[in-house]
């Protein structure tokens, strides 16, 4: 585990800085909303219950969903803005609730004493009520801080850099060191901020102004210093005159080409392949990894990213809302024309492999139970199917069940990272494997035939945003990839990461070398 550390630490300034920037901004914004609102609501019951009601409802939305919802609400914007807004909303409730409860808990006798001594409403609030409610409010601020810092790890799928980048890519590539490292960093950050706030509170309470001041300063300085370190670190390295010339000659303007990726290994590898291909042509590039499946499409449509790889079946069902699949080539044609007509998105071409869902069993199971096609499954006395939660919600699961008469099946939702081991260890009988996954080869799995065409085709396609499509040099740089990655090559590359524990970059090199050799 420790040999992974240098690599993780290398990206720490960027991830920690992003995390810090996001969570501190969200906490401050949440304070700016909830403190005044809480004060107002504490004095006016007509505001209190709707304000608390809305904040509580927001709180019951899982953080991940709230974050993902922000993307379409902001018209497909990804990155800082949706994450910031969602986390701000998330941080409002604890502070709002504690402000209201704290202020309402102030003894009415004391409030009357303040008025009797000649304080105005404002003076009574500032000198008597807020100081008396301060412990409750501070507790709310600390809760909000811990929540927001924790939830900021979930900003990764909407394209905001955070410590969640370690966790999400670690989960997908089964790099447990990265997952643990990300968790520890974010927990450490939450604890640190919590303790700093507690310290400044103690300083205030005991009247030791200097102690309070010191912690408040630390509270401002520590994020500031981390940010400064990050800024220095991420400043673009000086570009040689030669590279600049090459880029101008190639017709690629100064704008970076932004490459998107969903959150699984194959996507990281292909994004890296695309990125290197563009860089070789002299383009400047940028990456947005770990985007959610709908988030990434919205981002392409709005031009937030320029290029990524998607799959025809996904677009057919999710973006176009079609229910019944059609054959592979027809689907590709329909999807590309729909993309171009509706959003100006150009399907540059097919990479040459499919990453479809395939019902997979171990070779041993296929032998002993005598199954070769999905149709054979119906005859089995009992059957448990492992799949990612997304699959069970999809149409094709319904279709498969009705076409092959699969009743009384036990459904086991699990992260796709775990399903291959689950079927190998006989925890489930069948999984809905991704047909391009490296573990299909490595674990000696058999993909069952689908004679009735229940499972739609999932052709991998390079998509260019309307904007990127207007830059011919981008298309030229990526053309060599079209038709150049067949299923075996993709499986092999996936296996480099998922089975052999190599890096994404090694897998990308494998693909590029094969293409060159052709």
């Amino acid at each position: 585990m420790f040999e992974a550390l240098p690599g993780l630490i290398e990206t720490l300034p960027a991830y920690l800085g992003g995390h810090m920037r996001l969570s501190v901004a969200a906490i401050l914004a949440a304070l700016a909303i909830s403190l005044p609102l809480g004060i107002l609501a504490a004095r006016n019951g007509a505001i209190a219950s709707p304000a608390l009601g809305i904040a509580s409802v927001l709180q019951t939305i899982p953080a991940l969903a709230l974050l993902a919802l922000m993307v379409p609400l902001l018209g497909g914007t990804i990155g800082f803005a949706p994450a910031f807004i969602a986390l701000t909303l998330y941080g409002v409730l604890p502070v709002l609730r504690n402000t209201i409860v704290g202020l309402q808990g102030v003894d009415p006798v004391v409030r009357e004493a303040a008025r009797g001594a000649g304080m105005s409403d404002w003076q009574s609030l500032m000198r008597v009520e807020l100081p008396l409610a301060a412990p409750a409010i501070m507790a709310g601020i600390r809760t909000a801080t811990v929540w927001v810092v924790g939830a900021a790890t979930l900003a990764t799928p909407v394209g905001a850099t955070s410590l969640g980048n370690y966790i999400f890519s670690g989960l997908q590539t089964r790099n447990w060191a990265a997952v643990i490292f990300g968790c520890l960093c974010s927990a450490g950050l939450a604890l640190l901020l919590d303790q700093l706030i507690a310290a400044s509170e103690r300083g205030l309470q005991s009247g030791r102004r200097r102690g309070a001041l010191a912690s408040a300063l630390a509270l401002i300085l520590i994020p500031g210093l981390i940010l400064a370190a990050v800024l220095i670190n991420t400043r673009a390295p000086g570009e040689g005159a030669y590279q600049q010339e090459a880029r101008l000659a190639s017709g690629l303007s100064d704008d970076p080409v932004i490459v998107g990726a969903k959150s699984f290994t194959e996507q990281y590898i292909l994004a890296e392949v695309i990125e290197r291909q563009l860089q070789a042509a002299g383009a400047r590039t940028d990456r947005r990894d770990n985007l959610g499946s709908t988030v990434v499409f919205d981002a392409l449509r709005s031009g937030e990213i320029d290029v990524y790889v998607d799959y025809t079946g996904t677009l057919w069902a999710n973006a176009m809302g079609e229910e019944t699949p059609v054959a592979r080539h027809r689907m590709y044609a329909a999807v590309s024309s729909w993309l171009y007509e509706s959003a100006g998105i150009v399907a540059l071409g097919r990479l040459g492999f499919e990453n479809a869902y395939g019902f997979a069993v171990t070779a041993e199971f296929a032998d002993t139970q005598n199954v070769a096609s999905i149709a054979d499954l119906a005859a089995l006395p009992s059957l448990s199917v492992g799949a990612d939660p997304e699959f069970f919600a999809r149409n094709e699961w319904e279709r498969t069940r009705s076409l092959y008469d699969l009743t009384g099946v036990e459904q086991r939702s699990m992260d796709s990272a775990f399903m291959y081991d689950a079927v190998r260890n006989e925890a489930v009988d069948v999984i809905t494997a991704y047909t391009s996954d490296g573990r299909v080869l490595a674990y000696d799995l058999v993909i069952l035939d689908d004679p009735r065409g229940a499972l739609p085709p999932y052709d991998a396609v390079i998509l260019l945003s309307a904007e990127a499509a207007r830059r011919p040099a981008v298309a030229r740089a990526l053309e060599p990839l079209i038709g150049a990655v067949d299923a075996d090559l993709m499986r092999e590359a996936n296996a480099v990461v998922e089975v052999e524990r190599g890096s994404v970059s090694q897998a990308a090199t494998l693909i590029l070398e094969r293409i060159e050799a052709q």
Binding site: A113, A114, G118
Partner: protein
């Protein structure tokens, strides 16, 4: 007249008429006691004077100015106020509690600090020992004295006091009463003091307003009250302290005989 209460009415939301046609006047340097059984409207009357409650009808004149025309916040800074209970700010030290109104009036720090020590001396609390204590580090009686000190801090010419000596043992109470009387004669502020202890009213007040069910049934000097009680309630209220005194005297006589 420093204070004139003229036909004061207070009907609470919900329609309960707590104060009915109450009228009395207080001269400068005069101590007036409001006496009456629990719930008869004493606190309500007092709060209408500094506009912690808005009167439903009638007029309050402070220094011949209609209180309704004055800014209530400025009005309250002019009038000292001792709350029923003590009403101290739990998050402030004794000194900070006392300094509240002078600060609101914009006094400078040295003047405030000097004043805090003065009023603490007045209520017989050693400043060196008590200045920096928090209210929860005081006894109930000490808190009440701080409450009185706070009301006197800004040097108001009119002080409203709601049962200021309520929670004190008889000896402290006796001492504090005497001190208060000295103080009042020395400084010469006027005071309206609520109590339900008729003996206290008789001993301390220049004039007594006896309240019953929201109304003043008699407003007179202690002497006139003792000589000519105008209402059965007044008679009843006068009797209880006299009874007590008689009973104690009789006991004492019996005790002497036994020896």
């Amino acid at each position: 007249m420093i204070l004139t209460v003229d036909q004061l009415e207070k009907t609470y939301r919900g329609g309960f008429r707590a104060v009915r046609e109450v009228s009395f006047a207080v001269d400068a340097r005069e101590v007036v006691a409001l006496v009456g059984e629990s719930g008869c409207g004493k606190t309500t009357t007092l709060k209408c004077i500094n506009r912690l409650l808005e009167p439903s009808d009638g007029r309050i004149l402070i220094d011949n100015e209609d209180a309704a025309d004055l800014d209530p916040v400025a009005l309250r800074r002019r009038i000292g106020w001792v709350m029923q209970g003590d009403g101290l700010f739990p998050h402030m030290s004794v000194a900070e509690n006392i300094a509240v109104t002078p600060q609101l009036l914009g006094w400078d720090a040295p003047r405030i600090s000097k004043r805090v020590d003065e009023v603490l001396d007045l209520v017989r609390l050693d400043p060196a020992q008590y200045r920096d204590r928090r209210p929860d580090q005081l006894s109930g009686g000490q808190r009440q004295r701080v409450g009185v000190a706070r009301a006197l801090a800004a040097g108001s010419r009119l002080v409203l006091m709601d049962e200021p000596f309520g929670a004190l043992d008889p000896i402290t109470r006796d001492g504090l009463r005497t001190d208060f009387m000295d103080l009042q004669t020395r400084i010469g502020f006027a005071a309206v003091m609520v109590t339900h202890d008729m003996a206290e009213a008789l001993l301390m007040a220049d004039r007594i307003a006896v309240m019953h069910a929201g109304e003043i049934v008699q407003y007179d000097t202690p002497k006139a009250l003792l000589n000519a009680p105008a209402h059965p309630i007044v008679r009843q209220m006068l009797e209880s302290p006299l009874h007590e005194a008689d009973a104690v005297q009789a006991l004492k006589a019996a005790a002497v005989r036994d020896v």
